[in-house]
Assembly symmetry: C2
Homo-oligomer: 396 residues x 2
């Protein structure tokens, strides 16, 4: 297929430092090229890709000191629009800005929503532009939106299989990786480690907004002899940090839309002990790639179980559910369902739990192929032709 990937201009693709969305766009783009598709990437000029790059800004806007990204984004979208005939499908990762400009060709467009959707600020767009097919990165991410939102599918994120190489031996410490912020609950991670009597290594960034929280709540807890705060780590250090751990603790207290760090740990063979919120029950296969818990007690018990979980089994679960290749295959299925709806046979969909209680009886088995321009129809129930498993958006 002739596929356009439209990335945010905030960071290069892949990003030089942080940037969850741009990392996923990079992995998807490379996997689509690998699968033989003709891919054009609209992104910042310092991006690196095997696809055809259309440079839409000199470099990633954030590191270049730009605070308002709308102007550059509008110019990029105008260029995508001018060239739309070159593509069978246009895949946006740019939040909202494209909705008005592409509504008349929405049948060949799809937008992956990478962030939280519980802000009322965004609702007008989802209520108004019902033509635009949307992709969620977890089923749970959809919860705040009305049931008749135009979902084309859920596609979990995926990671290149060798990015966090399998580490057969693991290690003896528990790992916490992410931002120090109240919704990530680093305090819970510390409590779990102390109760389990195991060392905790915390590789964590402290954003300016979270400085008070760090100083008042977390810093006093770091004095415990079992706790080691290693600060920020880079991509290379991350593989070792995760691979050498006994388990990753992910004790979140918010509805994480995906949570990339979970599949990075799984890729290394490290089981994940995660709170039952947001995407977690979709990403962690309980008893196979980790444990889904709801209390400190359950988490401490899960640490004991994790010691006996075979790391090869964790890795196998990762390989079957969360590789970039799987993500690209899912997206290609989804693109095909959008642009050639009548030519497709029935699409096999994986079973998944109903959202908001609106799933039809047939859902979760085999979906009827969707009719011409089906995605533009409002009132489509949640649970849609393409349904897959895997990955999430992690903001380190």
């Amino acid at each position: 297929m002739r596929i356009a990937q439209v990335a945010p201009l905030a960071e290069a693709v892949p990003p030089k430092l942080y940037g969850g969305t741009e990392r996923v766009v990079s992995w998807l783009t490379e996997a689509l090229v690998e699968a033989g598709h003709d891919v054009t990437l609209f992104a910042s000029g310092d991006s690196e890709t095997s696809a055809r790059l259309v440079a839409c800004s000199e470099s990633g806007l954030r590191l270049a000191g730009f605070r308002d990204h709308l102007a550059a984004t509008l110019v990029m979208l105008d260029e995508v629009r001018r060239r739309e005939a070159e593509f069978d499908v246009i895949h946006f990762h740019t939040d909202l800005a494209q909705f008005a400009l592409f509504k008349d060709i929405a049948h060949k467009c799809v937008t992956t929503l990478h962030g939280r959707l519980d802000l009322p600020d965004y609702m007008p767009v989802f209520r108004h532009f019902r033509e635009m097919p949307l992709v969620s990165i977890s089923d749970d991410q959809r919860r705040p939106l009305p049931p008749d939102t135009n979902w084309a599918g859920t596609v979990h994120h995926g990671l290149p299989a060798q990015n966090c190489p399998f580490s057969p031996r693991g290690g003896q410490y528990l790992a916490f990786l992410g931002r120090i912020s109240p919704e990530k609950r680093p305090d819970r991670a510390i409590e779990i480690a102390v109760r389990a009597g195991l060392p905790l290594k915390m590789a964590a960034k402290v954003d300016k907004a979270d400085q008070d929280y760090f100083e008042e709540v977390i810093e006093p807890l770091l004095a415990h002899p079992l706790v080691e705060f290693v600060g920020e780590i880079n991509e290379e250090e991350k593989s070792d940090f995760l691979g050498n751990a006994l388990a990753l603790l992910f004790p979140i207290d918010w509805c994480e839309p995906f949570g990339l760090v979970m599949i990075e740990a799984m890729s290394a063979g490290t089981p994940v002990i995660a709170w039952n919120m947001g995407s977690v029950p979709e990403v962690v296969t309980h008893g196979e790639s980790g444990y889904v818990v709801a209390s400190i007690e359950e988490a401490v018990a899960a640490v004991e179980k994790a010691k006996h979980l075979e790391r090869t089994r964790v890795r196998r679960t990762f390989e079957s559910r969360f590789t970039a290749r799987r993500m690209a295959e899912d997206y290609v299925d989804l693109y095909e369902s959008l642009v050639k709806p009548l030519a497709l046979p029935a699409v096999k969909v994986a079973a998944t739990r109903p959202l908001l209680g609106t799933a039809p009886a047939t859902w979760g088995t085999t979906a009827t192929p969707i009719a011409a321009k089906p995605i533009a129809a409002a009132g489509k129930p949640l649970g849609t032709p393409i349904r897959t498993n895997g990955g999430g958006l992690y903001r380190a």
Copy 2:
């Protein structure tokens, strides 16, 4: 004419509290209706207008707690676009968001830029969308943009003639009105008043961002017996505050795009003593409606002269240059030059100083009527058919 006014959704039109742009949109809209035009106002649902209101959000987004206004703005722009055939001209006050969506009908669109233009973040839009005719609110505001920017004219802001009624007697204090921030230089105002031996009343808001500046720099100066800090005042109090003053001090240290408070003072008959920066020399007629100064010494001398300036003369200058009616007439001339370029006779333009040294020899006298779709042509020199005097954007 059938005119669409497209307001920001941040505040109601007119705003309930602050909101310089929405106040100007309200004044312009009412004056256009008064002049017999068929005006449709796209704005928040709690706006009040004599025009036909198209409510594009329930209420002003800022006071409703919305932080990201893009979604609601995109929905509004889509509605404007859907109804475009109903209008002879569409006048945007919404910064950048409309550029991509209206480029193919740019010949009937115009955008007034209400803010500072010296941020590199905005440049991609001005470089790329050369079809969209732009209006500056002062000539000086244009300075950061390239000389071939598609300017349709400068229209200074205007105020309803009775908003700040003429106050024949004036008073014995100097007035400072605005935000307490380094670029407004309240410290200069205090120094001028102290050196002139006159009381200074400061009606000023302290934004959170400026709290440190207020506490460290300004608060210690307020102890002086001549200085009275009266805090924030509302619209009704403003007329009295300005009308009862001997002069308004406007000792800015940044390129103010317009500065509404200057024409509000003039409306009351109160002369303005203002620093020679930004729009100031365009707005203040030196020796008639106030004094343009470049140092504390000049400002102190100007205070002495202001005592002898006839307040009726200040008011007359306001009436001839800065009423909402004059602003509306200028915009109608400009709209007509856009949509009926071939039917127009030569348009008389006022003399004004060249910007960036690129004004052609003929500029400032009589402009040739612009050809069909002239606004879409790139490379048009600064200095354009419609050129007027008056008004400015004041963020209290």
